[in-house]
């Protein structure tokens, strides 16, 4: 068995509130990300999806359990080879699109010629050619998110973690951005983990879908989609898409109600 790209073993996360109360946010969770797979994570609001991503990124440390990347345990530092795209706009407003994308490469000490080649390629790949010299303020929300994805992509990460990157976009744009994401996943060969609250997006993009419970978030189902690698947003027309979406929703519905507190006030789960 090849070593998984990343693994969470019996991972739990408990936060302490400013008032000193303990909030059990996540776990215990066991999850292995296989090399080159596209895994999506869906779950009710506040179930710890972002915490899960931050644990895998090394942005936060588990209260219990172990997180490894390529066999090495993470110690609260983001290891080389991991790229993260955040839910919020993380473009740097004082840099042009081109300089935003080059930011990480410059920090990594990559040679200027190599930076030029990689950034130009990413700018073309993400369809930002006409805006390379523009500032993020001159772009739409979707384009700014593309800049952030390109900035991650040029570093050629082996694991790309995306936290609801299309959350603020309309449905049509999200579907098209999903196509772009699938294209970059195929071409980069990277392992991708995408957090989303949109079930259709999770089903359309994934090789596997991790369904999480209400807080404390646990993985209650891992669904294999069986999609071919050469897929696109057209897959929503497939008969299996509806079946998978219904299956995921059936798992998620009760948990979403729990998250809303409805199971305690007598709202029907049927």
């Amino acid at each position: 068995m090849p070593e998984p790209q990343a693994r969470l073993t019996s991972v739990t996360k408990v936060f302490e509130t400013p008032q000193g109360a303990a909030v059990h946010a996540l776990g215990p969770i066991d999850l292995a990300l296989e090399r080159g797979e596209f895994l999506t994570v869906v779950g009710p609001s506040g179930c710890g999806k972002t915490t899960l991503l931050e644990l895998l990124a090394g942005l936060t440390v588990p209260t219990a359990g172990v997180v490894t990347f390529e066999g090495e345990p993470l110690g609260g530092r983001v290891p080389p080879g991991v790229g993260v795209v955040f839910q919020e706009d993380a473009s740097l407003p004082w840099l042009t699109v081109w300089d935003n994308i080059a930011f990480g490469l410059r920090r990594a000490g990559v040679a200027a010629q190599e930076i030029r080649a990689r950034v130009d390629r990413a700018v073309d790949f993400m369809g930002l050619g006409a805006f390379a010299r523009a500032y993020p303020a001159q772009l739409s929300g979707g384009m700014r998110q593309r800049v952030c994805i390109a900035r991650t992509l040029v570093l050629e990460p082996r694991l790309i973690l995306l936290d609801e990157p299309f959350g603020a976009l309309d449905q049509q744009t999200r579907l098209l951005m999903g196509d772009e994401l699938l294209r970059l996943w195929r071409e980069s060969g990277a392992t991708v983990l995408l957090i989303t609250h949109a079930i259709d997006e999770a089903v359309m993009l994934a090789d596997r879908i991790a369904v999480m419970s209400a807080r404390p978030g646990r993985i209650i189902d891992l669904v294999e989609t069986g999609w071919p690698a050469q897929r696109s947003s057209r897959i929503v027309e497939d008969e299996a898409f509806g079946r998978l979406t219904a299956h995921v929703w059936s798992k998620l519905r009760a948990e979403s109600m729990k998250a809303l507190g409805r199971d305690q006030v007598g709202v029907s789960r049927e």
Binding site: R77, V78, G83, D89, P93, W94, F103, A137
Partner: protein, 250 residues
């Protein structure tokens, strides 16, 4: 030129014209105020004769030193206070009541420490400006989005790299407020210090003209200081606007 700028220039021109009229008609006594045209004429004479060269050099160097010191020390202190929550809890109430302290009363102490030279005046300008820079730096740092700090960690930046490449650029709009206030306070501190306590500089020249009943020189110098302070602040404002234009959402 925008309509607002035209309106602002128009308002100032009208004010000057009304003042000119009132002083020329004798509604305002000449002993109280001379016409603005005479202030400008006397200022031109003083400038062309070189009578202001020495006090100007003295004041400019003092203001520049007070400004540079208050910005560098203020920003460094702001960064340190922000990074240390315990220090922040201690500093917040002190900063809130900082400007209630009449710093001029410390001038004798400053002379005892620094001697009878420019440094007590620079120190007055410095203590006036520093807190404004610290407060503006803290405000700016408080408003840096959390995602920017996560981004710094994703790119494995050290603390100094994070400060200079992410945090300070993200806080620039607030830092500029601190710069503008530091310049204004440096001017106020130095000129007021020279006026009350010093034997040189533009502030002293104004006080000397006042004591000598030399209204022409006194008003000419006041006009000069006023125009200079406004021009410097406007220059900083223009820099700020140019820098921020690219950041504004279209």
């Amino acid at each position: 030129m925008s309509r607002i700028v035209r309106a602002q220039i128009g308002a100032i021109a009208s004010f000057i014209a009304v003042l000119e009229l009132l002083t020329r008609l004798g509604v305002i006594d000449r002993l109280t105020m001379i016409p603005p045209s005479e202030m400008a004429g006397q200022l031109w004479r003083l400038l062309t004769e070189g009578a202001l060269n020495a006090p100007m050099a003295q004041t400019f160097v003092n203001v520049a030193l007070a400004f540079v010191l208050s910005v560098s020390v203020g920003m460094a202190s702001g960064l340190a206070i922000h990074a240390l929550p315990r220090l922040r809890r201690l500093a917040d109430p002190l900063l809130a009541s900082y400007y209630a302290v009449p710093f001029f009363v410390f001038y004798p102490l400053l002379i005892a420490i620094f001697g009878l030279n420019r440094w007590p005046l620079v120190a007055i300008g410095f203590v006036f400006g520093t807190a404004a820079v610290v407060i503006a730096t803290l405000n700016g740092l408080d408003r840096v989005p959390r995602v920017m700090r996560k981004l710094a960690r994703v790119h494995r930046l050290g603390r100094i790299e994070e400060a200079f490449l992410i945090v300070l650029p993200a806080a620039v709009p607030h830092l500029f407020t601190g710069l503008k206030l530091a310049l204004a306070y440096a001017f106020i501190g130095v000129i007021a210090g020279e006026f009350i306590l010093s034997g040189s500089g533009l502030g002293h020249a104004i006080a000397y003209a006042y004591d000598s009943f030399d209204n022409e020189t006194m008003y000419a110098l006041m006009l000069f200081v006023l125009v200079l302070a406004i021009a410097l602040n406007a220059a900083l404002h223009l820099c700020e606007q140019r820098l921020l234009r690219r950041r504004r959402r279209a």
